[in-house]
Structures are given as structure tokens and as C-alpha cells.
């Protein structure tokens, strides 16, 4: 079975849970920006949680199916339509051979996950089917989808289990002003006491440049660094450091003006000082933020971060039980 890409959407790519283990070599973890929703989509169609799906951002693709199958769309509220007829998000639905899947305008969130029974059967690259476009690695020919692509679909393991839907309480949703929890990092001391405070006071807005590599925020007050003589090997700007490793979720603030939270396709190191790191439990939410969306950063300690991770894992357990 295969799926024909009639229209690719804005930036639609094959993603799974990612490619951990190579970041020290400069190869990012990639995978879905909102892995909670990605897992939910797979569970709905009877796939392994980590099967390859399509991640589509802001504007959905148009896809034509050559066999009857089961599909689910989760994540952003991007209403699916089968031959022009509306279908529910966060629910499995049937598509017959020859029918087309299209999408209405985005209602909320940013990234939708389209799971197809059997998963997208592109070859594994370093253990993952995730697309890393900057490195032309994985996914469908290492790039975003284009019109005319034929996506191979794996063998479906499930027989239809009746109508399956995820309860509202277990769906990913984006508040009108989101809170992103942050653990201060190794370079925290490089910021003035006033800037440390004001970073968490200001309401920031997602910059239109935000993408899979990093989410840039703007409209907060500029931050100041402690005076020092720049050490050997560091750039001349006060936001520069001697090159260091960049963790997933780390927040760099080049020139002290616009914080960038590194995400799934990030570079693994460089010379910008990092204020802290967004906790793992809140990274999925970032993937659902539209340009200009308001967000506040909230300071937490490591114990709170681990507790939040525990709660997120509990929620994942509830998701699995719900299906």
C-alpha cells in the first residue's frame, strides 16, 4: 500500500519518536515536536507508539490512498476531511481506496500528527525513521514531502477495533497564555540579578521564525550580562561563551534580546550562553505554539522538574489505558 502526496502542505515530514544517541556527534534527536500527540495518533490506529507518522505544521497536506485503511489525526486542531466530509480529530476513522484526505484551516495548536495503520515504512536511518532535513537524513529522502511523492505504508497489524477516540481530558491543548517551566543552568550566574528576575516576569511571544530547530521568543525586555573580560576562545559579545554542549530544551539568548529554546532538530553545541533548560515535560507543548502566541517562563528546581516528568508519564499511562 502507498499514499500519494497530492499537495504537501507547508512543511510535512515523516517523524517517529526520534534518533537519540548521536547528539554528541552533532546529529540531533529529531522526531515529533509533540511526541505525546504522536504516540496518541499511533495508539488510535493500532500501531506501536513509536511508528512513523506524518507531522504537518499549520497547513495540512492533501493525500490520496490506494487501499482501505484506518487513520487518526491528533495534536493541533487541524480538522480532517475525507473526500470533503469532516472527520473528528483525536479519533480513528476509515479511508477507502481512492479517497482523499484534506484539511480545513488550523483552529488551534501548530502541529498535527497523521497516523496511518501500519505506519510509514521508510527505511531506518541510524535506528529511526525521523526526518532531519538540515542533514538530509531519515524520513522520505531526508526532506519534507513534495507533490507526487509516494509514501510506502507498512503492513497493518490490527483488525478494526470499532470506533476509538481519546477523551477530552487526555488531549493535548494549548492555553491562552502558556507557562514553560525552566531549570536555571550552568551559565545562570552570567545574568544580572535584575535580568534573572525579569526573564520570568515578562510575557514573551513566539517569533514567526520558530521552527523544528529552535523556538525563538520576542517582545520581552532585553537581558543584561554580568561584566567580565571575555575568556580566551569566547566571542566578543557578552552573550558568548567558550563553546559548550547545547542540551535539548536549553535557552540561549544571543545578544540578550530574543531567547531561543532548542528543539528536536537543534545543533548540539556552540558559543552562546544558556540561561537554563525548559523541562522535558513541557517540550511537547512548545511544538504546539503558533507565531505570536504568548508564553511565560516559570522557574523551577530539579525536584519539581522530575515530579513534572513523573506526572507526564502518569498521563501517558492513562492515554494507553484509554485505548
Amino acid at each position: 500500500m502507498s499514499i500519494k502526496v497530492v499537495k504537501p502542505g507547508l512543511a510535512t515530514s515523516v517523524q517517529d519518536l526520534g534518533r537519540p544517541g548521536y547528539y554528541h556527534l552533532g546529529i540531533p534527536i529529531s522526531g515529533g515536536m509533540d511526541r505525546y500527540s504522536l504516540r496518541a495518533a499511533n495508539l488510535l490506529v493500532g500501531n506501536d507508539e513509536g511508528a512513523a507518522v506524518l507531522e504537518t505544521v499549520f497547513m495540512g497536506p492533501e493525500l490520496e490512498f490506494d487501499k482501505d485503511t484506518t487513520v487518526a489525526v491528533t495534536g493541533a486542531e487541524l480538522p480532517p476531511k475525507v473526500d470533503g466530509e469532516s472527520r473528528e480529530t483525536w479519533s480513528e476513522f476509515e479511508i477507502k481506496a481512492g479517497q482523499r484526505l484534506t484539511f480545513d484551516f488550523l483552529k488551534s495548536g501548530a502541529r498535527a500528527y497523521i497516523a496511518i495503520s501500519g505506519g510509514i515504512d521508510v527505511p531506518l536511518a541510524l535506528g529511526s525513521r525521523a526526518t532531519y532535513t538540515l542533514g538530509a537524513l531519515g524520513g522520505f529522502e531526508g526532506r519534507n514531502l513534495l507533490s507526487g511523492d509516494l509514501l510506502p505504508i507498512g503492513k497493518s497489524s490490527n483488525s478494526s477495533r470499532g470506533k476509538c477516540t481519546i477523551p477530552a481530558a487526555l488531549r493535548q491543548s494549548v492555553g491562552s497564555e502558556v507557562e514553560l517551566r525552566v531549570v536555571p543552568g550552568l551559565y545562570w550566574h552570567r545574568f544580572t540579578a535584575e535580568s534573572q528576575k525579569q526573564f520570568f516576569e515578562d510575557v514573551w511571544k513566539v517569533a514567526p521564525e520558530a521552527d523544528r530547530i529552535g523556538y525563538r521568543f520576542q517582545k520581552g525586555r532585553p537581558l543584561n550580562f554580568m561584566d567580565r573580560e571575555q575568556p580566551f576562545g569566547a566571542g566578543s559579545d557578552p552573550s558568548n561563551i567558550v563553546d559548550s554542549c547545547y542540551p535539548y530544551g536549553s535557552i540561549q539568548i544571543p545578544g540578550g534580546t530574543e531567547p531561543i529554546v532548542l528543539h528536536r532538530d537543534a545543533v548540539s553545541g556552540g558559543g552562546y550562553c544558556m540561561l537554563g533548560t525548559v523541562i522535558s515535560a513541557d517540550m511537547d507543548l512548545i511544538g504546539q505554539l503558533q507565531p505570536n502566541w504568548p508564553a511565560r517562563f516559570v522557574k523551577v528546581d530539579l525536584d519539581q522538574a522530575l515530579k513534572a516528568r513523573e506526572e507526564r508519564n502518569k498521563r501517558l499511562g492513562q492515554l494507553r489505558d484509554a485505548i
Partner: protein
Amino acid sequence: MSDNTIQSPLPGTFYRKSAPDQPPYKEVGDTVSVGDTIGLIEVMKSFHEIQADKAGTIAAFLVANEDAVTAGQSIVELKM
């Protein structure tokens, strides 16, 4: 309300010109055919043309140049 408007399929920043030194794609009073470009949306470091999905005459721009827009927001009102 969407009957006589052209909507942006994307969230981002709206531009009425292809470049700062170029004239706007369309002005109020211009006729529009299906497929005509009426503006650009900038998002994720790239620009995407908004094309008319219906024909008519431009009655008004509902969004100013360089304004932020959301997906599904009406950009142009047409006289049909």
C-alpha cells in the same frame, strides 16, 4: 462571512509586496482572478504566497502590511 473574503491558510506575518522596493500585488479596486497572488505570509523563515480562491474586485484589505495573522483569518474582502 467567509463567502466574499480571501483567508490566510497560515499563521505568520502578512506582506502586501513581494519585496520592500516592489509595488503591492493588489490595490483596493483591482480585479482578482482565481489563482492571483494577493500577498505573502512569512513563517518559519520562508515566504508563502496567498492565492485567491475566488474572483471579484477588492473592496478592502482587512489586514495591514506586516500585521500578524492567524490561520483562517480573512485578509481581503471582495465585491463579487
